[in-house]
Point group: C2
Chain length 182, copies 2
């Protein structure tokens, strides 16, 4: 369970700090996520945070872990759905998570990951549904890239204001399903 893992890894106070950081990030974006602001929202001073986390990067890493756990859960739930094709369900889940949590999503994808500092198996768990749906490693990577590209261009406001993003998704899903049927 997601909650159990998080709870087991973090002391209660650390979890409160991560939660405060998350709310700041979600509400006001990455530039608002400063140690001062996190501390202030908890009624403490910034230096006190360093008794709980060695540096800011470690705190951000916890947010990334939360993002992976939540998106993995969303993908697993999508794969369990029978109403639509697996690829279609996964695409909707991917886009849905990214749009609901754009700043966390960007944090998760904007830079190289320190794989060795993530909970064992977490990356695999998040990637497995797509790999299963696509049936090949190369196909799964292409599918991930397509979904990421659609999502990040949307989040970054790079499609024209009147662009039919739904249609682009449908075209992409169609292409992936034809690849799958090879």
């Amino acid at each position: 369970m997601t909650t159990v893992e998080t709870g087991a890894r973090l002391t209660p106070r650390r979890r409160e700090i991560v939660e405060a950081a998350r709310q700041i990030l979600e509400r006001d974006g990455e530039s608002a996520l400063t140690m001062r602001r996190v501390a202030a929202d908890l009624g403490m001073k910034a230096p006190s945070l360093y008794k709980h986390f060695p540096d800011k990067e470690s705190l951000e890493l916890e947010l990334i872990i939360v993002g992976f756990e939540e998106s993995a859960a969303a993908f697993e739930a999508a794969l369990a759905t029978q109403a639509r094709s697996q690829i279609e369900s996964l695409g909707a889940a991917y886009r849905g998570y990214a749009r609901a949590h754009p700043h966390i999503y960007r944090l998760m994808t904007d830079r190289p990951l320190p794989h060795e500092r993530l909970p064992v198996g977490l990356e695999y768990r998040a990637a497995a549904p797509l790999a299963q749906a696509m049936g090949s490693v190369a196909g799964a990577r292409a599918a991930w890239a397509l979904a990421h590209g659609l999502v990040i261009l949307e989040i970054n406001g790079r499609f024209p204001a009147d662009a039919d993003i739904d249609a682009a998704w449908r075209a992409g899903i169609t292409a992936l399903e034809r690849l799958r049927q090879t």
Copy 2:
């Protein structure tokens, strides 16, 4: 011609400043691109730059324009090639430009564009080759998203170190070509 456009829009001194900024960005990345550093590389002081550009953002915008001009030229050249399929050629050109100029590429795609401040027709020119090759707007957007996703995940170091990125590109190109043949 790219050079003519740039030359017409910028005074010689402004062009020198843009060129210095570009070299810093390409060599040392976005965090190195500061007004102080740009000035120092030109043998001047930071405040003097503000006689040429009203703010840092305006200078960055010139770099984005350069990126669009160069990548548009690369796409046009790729489309003129007859050796491979158009989609394949464009994919290679897209990846090639992004890998050769990762920091400029990130600058071009990381945030919303102030469309009204770009030279008229530039965005259209950069997008046209892909639109032509895909034959539909939705297909072109899916193709752009796929290419962008593959490229930005590669640049950001998000594929496993031993991942076969060439194979992911081949799978993606195959999917797009099947979509094209609808």
